[in-house]
């Protein structure tokens, strides 16, 4: 039998170099390339300036004393308590009622008037915060009974002047906002992530552990 040749130090170092190259390469793939590949990037059909619309000094007719009330002015509730979600065109048209006379001077509003109001076409918004179909979530239970501010889950979305691109997970179809903007899945703010554990964490913290039972949300 032939004797196995012992590798030289040089060979060891070389091997170590390749190991580190592979290691760093994997980190680059996992942390940089993977998130780029995993998510689509789609611009919203048009821009919407939340900051502007929520400013009562600039916009007549935004009613409500608190931030939450002002949010609810458009993102309202039906009579039976179900959440309206993203407003429909009819809500926009409560103010932007005449395509001939825009309320501001922005080119965005002009485009909105021509493209949607004049044609009476719904805006195909892409929803950042839509939970999957198997999840029952009641807004009214959280904002009225739980007295949560909108920002607890939605962060400063209401203070932005431009809508970020919508990013959907190509595998699952879910919005990136559900998993969280950080690919690590780590979070610092309550609104960074919207997974089941985040719901449960808050329930427990608020002393509503009974609401962590499966059938509370997965009906």
């Amino acid at each position: 039998m032939e004797k196995t040749k012992k590798p030289s130090l040089r060979a060891w170092l070389e091997g170590g170099g390749f190991f580190i190259a592979g290691f760093i390469g994997a980190l680059v793939v996992g942390w940089v390339i993977f998130p780029m590949v995993l998510y689509s990037k789609q611009p919203q059909p048009m821009n919407f300036n939340h900051a502007l619309h929520l400013n009562p000094e600039k916009v007549d007719g935004i009613e409500g004393k608190t931030d939450a009330e002002r949010c609810l002015h458009c993102h309202g509730l039906y009579d039976d308590g179900t959440f309206k979600g993203i407003p429909r065109l009819s809500t926009c048209m409560e103010c932007h009622d005449n395509p001939e006379s825009p309320l501001g001077k922005t080119p965005e509003e002009k485009a909105f008037m021509d493209e949607y109001v004049a044609k009476n076409k719904e805006i195909p918004w892409l929803a950042y915060y839509k939970q999957p179909d198997c999840v029952y979530f009641s807004h009214i239970a959280h904002i009225k009974n739980g007295k949560l501010e909108c920002t607890v889950c939605h962060g400063d979305h209401g203070k932005t002047s431009a809508l970020p691109d919508y990013e959907a997970n190509l595998l699952t179809g879910y919005s990136k906002n559900i998993w969280g903007k950080r690919i690590s899945g780590l979070k610092t703010n309550t609104w960074d992530r919207m997974k089941m554990d985040d719901c449960a964490e808050c329930h427990s913290k608020m002393g509503h552990e009974e609401n962590n039972a499966c059938f509370v949300c997965h009906k």
Binding site: G15, F18, A21, G22, A26, Y78, G85, P132
Partner: protein, 811 residues
């Protein structure tokens, strides 16, 4: 630096190690799990605005109120309505699954079609409405030209007295045909019994919620009988803490149905001997003087004659011999029933939609009379039909005037069948046995006779002799598979229609269903189709249909409700109607103008009258004697009429009566004996109905297959329930495939051994064995109707479906 084998492995190991401290494997694992929950074929409702529409379910004669939850225009759920007087929030599983009937494209016709393949193959080609109406219009116009209008026949399953049934009958008359047939229904038997014994024309109105002793003769009270939402609620109330033990429920049935097993007492009698049990009870009640002397003494006629007959022939021992029920049980049941404050005897086998036997129902109704339960709180109320405006007179021309006077093919109304409205088996046999069919064109409305007629396939075979068959069904149902032309109706969630009187309800309620979604396809409300067809034919036929559309007909009828200046059109749900009725107070209508009433009514609304005047025994009966008749004058007249014409038959055998002329006008037990060798066919086939299996003209939504247990439906096989004793006698065990055979044919099922099945009987569910519909419905299980012998109930001429002699062999 060389990428040799060793270095390559180092690179890979480094890569793998590195990957584990990136989110990639963990995130991918999570995402793949989520991905598996999002297969493209898993149905997910679209995102949109939630809203709901209220309407009325017209799938069965119960007419429960429904609320359809929608996302934008897509209906996503059907729930019971709480602002509807009939069903406080509940509906049955079939009603809940109704959306599949709307959205399943394999189940329904999307547009008019004509047949291109052989009959029964279900191969059709699309045609336009214009062409479809043209084909039928020309055919009818051609027959009218030849003066051969009686060659058009219609078979109709719309509830009797409904606007749809009136329009169909009117259409036939206007074009000149007497051959308007209805599929047999319990409603017909109820009306006949009321007419015979009370002379009244209202429906059977059971005041069950106010009763303290409900004696049900085979009625599946919690299995779809009446309005299922109402009954399930009533049952819950009877069993609630505060009323527990105060209301007794007794079920008379050969099989331990769900109702029987949840009742306080289950009395198993031989199939078809319910009348004998009722008479045995009557014997005890009369003999022991337990009957209501006020009512029987003052407000009935013929009691003396009938009671001595009952005393003579139906002692508990005699009744026990017929029914198989121990005489002591009959005695104690009779005593308990008669001594209760508000007992009521209820009939209507299973879901109470299939016809009953005239004499049997008369016997059962006699128990209500003996205990003074007629028009008493908690009994059977005598009510008037709704004050709906009648339709204007039909315009006849010479052709139609002569046509309608010709003899009906089914002989209904002749001295042979004096009180029958229509007899499908006589009709089918006449066509089958004739060399050339007398019927050229058969129109099928709101019914599915191929599936539902209990005649051993007689009607289906007769179809092959009819040159032209037109289906007006919304669905690819079993009968439309034989149609040459299809003029599809909307489904019940897309159309306006009416529920005239929810089956069995104790107070008048009229409701209108409305489209909860816009029609999905090019279908048309059948009422509109008839009106359009009549206008196309022209002349007097068109003149008989002066309306623009079906909605106008409904509006015309509703005018009568307004003119009556009675009733309410809203219901708050604070007090149930049966409680409101206890006050016997007149109410002020909650509508001011007709437009107000119509506005509410036409949006899935209702009109009802929560007022009843109990008692009034001196004025409610419209018989010749003005009293409740134990010996029916109308029956006597019919028998005399028959005897005048058929002097050779003094025993009345031709009427199907075996007991002779003496007792023919009495409520009595009439055994229907099949003309077969009892030794060759030693077992009795008894069909039964289940709450989660639609047994009528419309099939179950396919989802309901999933509610079937493995001993109810296993792949393609349905099951027959057999007592362990009978099974061991036959040497068969659980799950064995068997043939059940009658002289009319045989079906293949599997065996389910069930101790609640009466020995010697075999129980097979109704609703399986369909040949149309979609892949999940077609060919599932066997249809007992295929082997039921077409026997007739005496006098009424309706089919006897509840017992058929069969033999059982291993398959």
């Amino acid at each position: 630096m060389e990428l040799n084998r060793r270095n390559f492995i180092s690179l890979m190991v480094g890569g793998v190690a590195g990957l584990h401290i990136t989110p990639l494997p963990w995130k991918l694992t999570d995402d793949i799990a989520i991905w598996t929950q999002n297969w493209p074929w898993v149905p997910v409702p679209p995102a949109g605005a939630f809203n709901s529409s209220k309407s009325v379910c017209t799938l069965c004669p119960g007419g429960c109120g429904i609320e359809v939850r929608k996302v934008d225009e897509r209906a996503v759920k059907i729930e019971g309505r709480t602002d509807f007087p009939v069903n406080p929030g509940g509906i049955c599983p079939i009603g809940m699954g109704g959306l599949q009937l709307l959205y399943n494209e394999d189940i329904r016709f999307a547009r008019p079609m004509k047949r291109v393949g052989p009959r029964g193959s279900g191969q059709f080609a699309d045609i336009s409405w214009k062409e479809a109406l043209g084909i039928l219009g020309e055919r009818i116009a051609g027959l009218r030209k030849q003066g051969n209008t009686e060659a058009v026949a219609a078979i109709d399953g719309n509830p009797s007295g409904s606007a749809m049934s009136l329009l169909v009958e009117r259409f036939l008359k206007a074009l000149g045909s007497p051959n308007y047939l209805r599929t047999p229904s319990m409603d017909d038997t109820y009306s006949l019994v009321n007419l015979m014994m009370q002379g009244t024309e209202g429906p059977m109105a059971y005041d069950l919620e106010n009763s303290d002793f409900v004696l049900s003769f085979g009625a599946g009270l919690i299995e779809g009988w009446g309005a299922p939402g109402r009954m399930i609620n009533a049952w819950g109330m009877w069993r609630a803490q505060e009323t527990r033990g105060k209301v007794k429920i007794v079920q008379v049935e050969a099989r331990a149905s769900n109702t029987a097993s949840k009742a306080d007492q289950w009395i198993a009698v031989r199939p078809g001997t319910d009348a004998a049990l009722a008479l045995g009870m009557a014997h005890v009640i009369i003999k022991e003087g337990l009957y209501n002397k006020d009512f029987v003494g003052g407000s009935t006629s013929g009691f003396g004659e009938w009671s001595s007959f009952v005393i003579r022939q139906y002692s508990p021992e005699q009744a026990g011999a017929l029914t198989g029920c121990p005489p002591e049980e009959i005695r104690s049941l009779a005593r308990a029933f008669a001594k209760s404050k508000a007992p009521v005897a209820v009939c209507g086998r299973g879901k109470g939609t299939l016809n009953g036997s005239l004499y049997e129902l008369m016997c059962i109704h006699s128990l209500n009379a003996l205990t003074g339960g007629i028009n008493r709180m908690g009994g059977v109320l005598v009510t008037d039909p709704h004050p709906l405006s009648p339709l204007p007179d039909i315009t006849y021309d010479e052709v139609s005037r002569q046509g309608v006077q010709k003899a009906r093919l089914d002989q209904a109304g002749t001295p042979r069948f004096p009180y029958a409205q229509s007899i499908t088996s006589v009709f089918a046999r006449a066509i089958r046995e004739a060399k050339e069919s007398m019927i050229d064109t058969l129109l099928v409305f709101g019914s599915n006779p191929v599936q539902t007629l209990p005649d051993g396939g007689l009607f289906k075979r007769a179809l092959s002799n009819i040159p032209f068959i037109v289906s007006f069904s919304a669905f690819r149902d079993d009968t439309s598979m034989y149609a040459d032309l299809v003029l599809p109706d909307h489904t019940y969630l897309e159309k306006m229609d009416e529920v005239v009187w929810p089956a069995g309800l104790q107070y008048p309620l009229y409701s209108i269903s409305r489209p909860v979604v816009k029609p999905l396809y090019e279908t048309k409300n059948c009422g509109d189709t008839i009106i359009e067809l009549a206008k196309n034919i022209g002349g007097s036929v068109a003149a008989s249909f002066p309306w623009k559309g079906f909605e106008e007909v409904l509006k015309h009828r509703a005018k009568g409700l307004f003119d009556s200046a009675k009733g309410l059109v809203s219901y708050k749900g604070t007090a149930p109607v049966w409680k409101m009725m206890q006050k016997e107070e007149e109410i002020t209508p909650d509508y001011k103008t007709f437009d107000d009433l119509w506005n509410k009514l036409s949006k899935g609304g209702f009109w009802y009258r929560p007022v009843h005047k109990y008692g009034r025994w001196d004025s409610i009966f419209k018989t010749a004697t003005g009293k409740f008749e134990f010996v029916s004058t109308r029956l006597q007249l019919a028998i005399q009429g028959y005897l005048r014409q058929n002097q050779a038959d003094p025993t009345l055998a031709g009427l199907g009566i075996g007991s002779g002329a003496q007792t023919a006008a009495f409520p009595h037990y009439e055994e229907v004996k099949a003309p077969v060798d009892a030794k060759a066919y030693p077992f009795t086939l008894v069909p039964y109905e289940m709450i989660n299996l639609a047994s009528g003209s419309v099939a179950s939504p396919p989802h309901l297959n999933k509610t079937m247990l493995d001993n109810q439906l296993l792949k393609e096989d349905s099951f027959a329930e057999i007592n362990p004793k009978t099974a061991s006698q036959l040497g068969i065990k659980e799950g064995d495939p068997i043939f059940i055979e009658s002289p009319a044919g045989r079906i293949r099922v599997r065996v389910s051994i069930f101790e609640g099945a009466m020995p010697g009987c075999v129980f097979v569910p109704l609703g399986f064995g369909r040949i149309g519909w979609d892949e999940f419905t077609r060919g599932k299980g066997a249809n007992p109707n295929d082997i039921i012998l077409p026997q007739m109930d005496p006098v009424s001429g309706q089919p006897v479906w509840w017992k058929t002699p069969v033999k059982i062999t291993k398959a």
